[in-house]
Structure formats: C-alpha cells, structure tokens
Symmetry: C2
Subunit: 108 residues, 2 copies
C-alpha cells in the first residue's frame, strides 16, 4: 500500500485538522491548516492553524499563552484530513473561545 | 450564550463530521454531511454521510453491513463542524477502506 501524501488541493489550499487531547482523547476542535501552518507546526512542535475568519496564520494560544504541543500528527488514508494529538503547554485546558474545554458541547 | 445552529452554507452545503469511537475514543475518520445525510442519521440512528467522491448519500457500512450507531452527536461552538460518537453495530471494527481500524495511520 502506498503511503498517502497530503492533498491541499481538494480544500482550496486548506486541510481540516481534528485536534484531540492526547491524554484523555477528548476531541477539542476542528481547525484548518494551509502549507505554511503545517510547516510552522512541524518546525516548532506547537499547533499552528489557518484562521478562516481572520484569514491569517494562527498560533493556537497566541493570546492566552496556552499553546498546544504536538504529540502525534497523522494523515488519513486519502490524504485530505489531519489528526493532531496535543498536550496543553501550560496544563490549562480551555480550548474554545467560549472558555469551554472543548468546542463540541451542543448536543443535537 | 446562544446555542449555535448548524451552518451548511460555509462548506457549500456540507459540514465536516469527525467520527469517533464512543468506547475507546479513537478518531476513526473525517466525513461530510449535507442536510439530507443529517436527517437520515437522526431518523435512523445510523451514521449517514455525503460521499464527495461518489456524489451521493452514503450509509456508512452499506456494503459491509457494519453500520455505525450514533451514541452522541454534537455541534461545535460556531456551528460548522460535527462530532459523531459511534458504536459499530456488529461489533466489528474495520472503518477504513484499507481495512484498518482508523483512517488515521500515516504519521507525519
């Protein structure tokens, strides 16, 4: 089986990134990376995303200081999604802009 | 805080869906739903997606019989991503078309 390579084309230069707590496996948020965000993430070990609303590179936690350290980064079988397993650098857990521990809290 | 409502517009009619094993919290795959797939999912309790490659409604496991039962379905804080916590109906685990237990197996 050939290893998949990352496909930025399918999402117009962006790949969705599932962000998961490496310790307790909670899914924290879904973000997006462009190639630059991926390079910064790989070079620094800190999660960098592309902010679609602000249209800029976004070091997660750049304001709070609560950066997310990458423990494992995996690509899916068809190369169009990433999974980032992370650990909060400061040990604090608020991930969501609402102050919640995860962005997924509204049950349907 | 107002409850977010689901935003199909941002993704041109599709919302990304993180599929997670409800028991061991493994992230299994990333899929997409349109409104019809969400309605079928909510009505049947079985995960339905929109297949972007085949451009059709897709009952996950329609060929293998290994449907995924929804244990919990949550929307994120800004309404543009879903998290489906699932349980395999038959107890079998292959999720990926490669036969793997998860689509995320290529480490970067």
């Amino acid at each position: 089986m050939n290893e998949p390579t990352i496909d930025f084309e399918k999402g117009n230069g962006l790949v969705p990134v599932i962000v998961q707590d490496a310790a307790d496996k909670t899914v924290l948020m879904l973000g997006y990376m462009n190639e630059e965000a991926l390079q910064w993430t790989q070079q620094t070990g800190q999660l960098h995303l592309w902010s679609r609303s602000r249209r800029k590179l976004w070091l997660k936690g750049e304001q709070s200081g609560n950066h997310l350290l990458i423990k494992r980064l995996t690509l899916d079988c068809d190369g169009d999604a990433l999974l980032a397993e992370v650990e909060p650098e400061t040990g604090e857990t608020p991930i969501c802009h609402t102050g919640a521990d995860t962005c997924f809290f509204t049950e349907l």
